[in-house]
């Protein structure tokens, strides 16, 4: 049972999904590849934590809809109370930012602008989802026992993170541009 397994269970406890859907929803945590998800689902099924039914589709490939079992729900619930292992974030951009003093300012400016674009797209997407959740649930969002609570607080956190990243990039860009002006 690795953390990806728990991530899958935590999504399936809210609603039954296919592996394909899970690989998309998993963006919330991190982007796992389908080649890792499909074998894991099979493993969880063999461990009696999931069951599945085939759904035949014409024009589209058939799909397997996975549902969590009582055992799966129990395993997940017990895991929540255990001490989480420390977060790891591997971000190549940060290495480049650290070594940015080695490059020309044009290279640096381009790098930071691309970072802004990358996160701006995420922000737009995130704002849309949050608006949707707020519209649908309203005041109920303050109920920590409701199944959408976790999703809501998580999206709020992600949004802040992404907005801060853009702000920070703009701050760095202002320093670089300022300095470039001075040396002309």
């Amino acid at each position: 049972m690795n953390s990806l397994a728990y991530a899958l269970l935590s999504m399936l406890v809210r609603k039954s999904c296919t592996g394909y859907e899970l690989s998309q929803f998993l963006e919330t945590f991190w982007q796992a590849k389908h080649s890792q998800i499909y074998p894991l689902l099979k493993k969880l099924e063999h461990a009696d934590m999931l069951t599945f039914v085939y759904e035949h589709q014409t024009a589209k490939p058939d799909k397997k809809i996975y549902t969590i079992t009582p055992k799966g729900k129990e395993v997940l619930s017990e895991w929540i109370g255990t001490k989480p292992s420390p977060p790891v974030s591997r971000d190549e951009f940060l290495i480049k930012a650290y070594a940015i003093w080695l490059t020309e300012s044009e290279t640096a400016i381009e790098l930071f602008n691309e970072r802004i674009d990358f996160y701006q797209k995420k922000i737009d997407f995130r704002i849309g989802i949050i608006a949707e959740i707020e519209l649908q649930y309203g005041k109920q969002l303050l109920d920590p026992k409701a199944s959408h609570f976790g999703r809501y607080i998580l999206f709020k956190r992600k949004l802040k993170l992404e907005q801060d990243e853009v702000e920070w990039c703009q701050w760095v860009l202002s320093i670089i541009e300022n300095f470039t002006d001075q040396s002309i």
Copy 2:
């Protein structure tokens, strides 16, 4: 050449270090284990990007001090301008936060409080380092061509991240505690 290799080069271009020191400094990016660092340093040395000298020590084990070569510096500089691969952050705690609606509020409160402690320690450490950097370099920090620039902007970003995490946890805690009061 994976991203860890570039992370090592980006630290060594600032100053020569031992593998042991690198494993500590690498906290800035992520915590790589020594079992991954030592073989990589050897590989980079064979690729003529690093050289090393032995330093004999009494009372302490001998050490190997690695220095970047012109080739290593060139490889690193060219890499900076290339498109960075998207960031990955694996955070078990976020899965637990997502599924928090399944647990008792005491469990939830404990989980979030431990998260705050974890990040508060990081904040204290980070503020110390930033103060040190600011004291030592002052106005020069606005020079993007100075070797401490990258380190400075990176630490500023990390600090904001860590402070936001604590704020977010406190916000979630306030919702949970509020709700628990109501249901008594």
